[in-house]
Amino acid sequence: MRVELSSKRLRSDFVKKIAELSGQNLYLCYQCGKCSAGCPMGFAMDILPNQIMRLVQLGLEEDIANSKTVWLCASCLTCTVRCPRGVDLSRVMEALRLLTLRKNKNYVEPSKMPPETVADLPQIALVSGFRKLTS
């Protein structure tokens, strides 16, 4: 993964915000990649979970915003239980989603879902899906 570093792109307020929302010490991550190795959604992600961690450390907010990764995370917590540094990456993913959702932007538009799908899905799918992917 190539990233361009410059003081113009670095957003230190963004790093602070993610640290606060997630309650995680982001600089504990030493890029071992164990989170990505076990991530069940990794196959569909354009940026892998460990790369997200690196981008967060570097304050590269836009690179993360341009990626689908945080919206593919299923909050399965596999990364959480395996990180050798004790980073709860699922919380970092949640914090990143909330940066968008709290601006009143939906990732999934419930009104655009086919009515047959909505009628068929169990409540736990709908409620948890909307909790994670809508504002």
């Binding site: 606060e20 929302l21 997630s22 309650g23 069940p40 959604m41 196959f43 569909a44 919206w71 593919l72 299923a74 909050s75 399965c76 917590l77 596999t78 959480t80 239980v81 709860d88 699922s90 919380r91 993913m93 949640e94 914090a95 909330l98 990732y107 999934v108 879902m113 799908t117 068929d120 899905l121 169990p122 409540q123 736990i124 799918a125 709908l126 409620v127 948890s128 899906g129 909307f130 909790r131 994670k132 992917l133």
Partner: protein, 292 residues
Amino acid sequence: MDLAYYPGCTLKTRAKNFETSALAAMSALGINLVELPRWNCCGTVYSLAEDDLIHHVAAVRNLIRVKEQGKNKVVTLCAFCYNTLKRANLVMKDSPDKRYAINIFMDEEPDYYGEVETAHLLQVLRDDVGWEKIAGRVKHPLKDLKIVGYYGCTLLRPQSVAIDSVERPTILQDLLKALGGTAVDFPFATECCGAFQIVNNRDIITERTAAILGSAAKSGAEALAVSCPLCEYNLRQTQSSTKQPQSGVPVMPALYFTQLMALAFGLDLAVCGFEENSPETRAWLKNKGLIS
């Protein structure tokens, strides 16, 4: 013995067969699961943001309802409810600042300090009933049935709420053995099925379930025992939406562990609600001579 029971929304609508089979199987073991007279949706997922206390309120209210019954333990069947209630309780127990804010916010409720333990039914079976007693109740051993225990996420993660070893759980296999079945180990037992991503991206879920079912088939299993209604839905729906047999995704029945208990105990088949399972599941049960 009476135990306070929290059903949650999905067991009242899309997973009725989970509830009816569980109530009957437990009563055969001398345990009454007594539904809370008042309860609300737990919120389904635990909030992972530090400042998001409002989403713990729904779960905590349910725990207060349990306390009102004079009980200090509540049993769940749905793996999502289990996780959410249990984690919300840890907040109330271990984080004084958050507890204070939540108690102040719910000024119409009595203060709550995390006194109620949430237990999943599998824990009750292992720790309170015991495998031997369960084996003793079996009338029709599930012999010749090769089944994998599929755990998914929420019974095992995070570590603080895990009902068994996070990476190598055996509780479902132990139950299957007590029921006289052959418990097959498989490497995808604790892998995520994609969960709520089903609302957004069915193809991704199909890739996940294909991997899980493929691994189970390769390990020599014929069926999966599950405990999460969302896993059950994702496994069932993506199997039927997958174009068989071109995709190479094996068709494999998924049953709630409580349905297998009811079968092994020789209970009235009506409690199993097999009509809510997939047609393939019913065909397999028929083939095995378990239903007519």
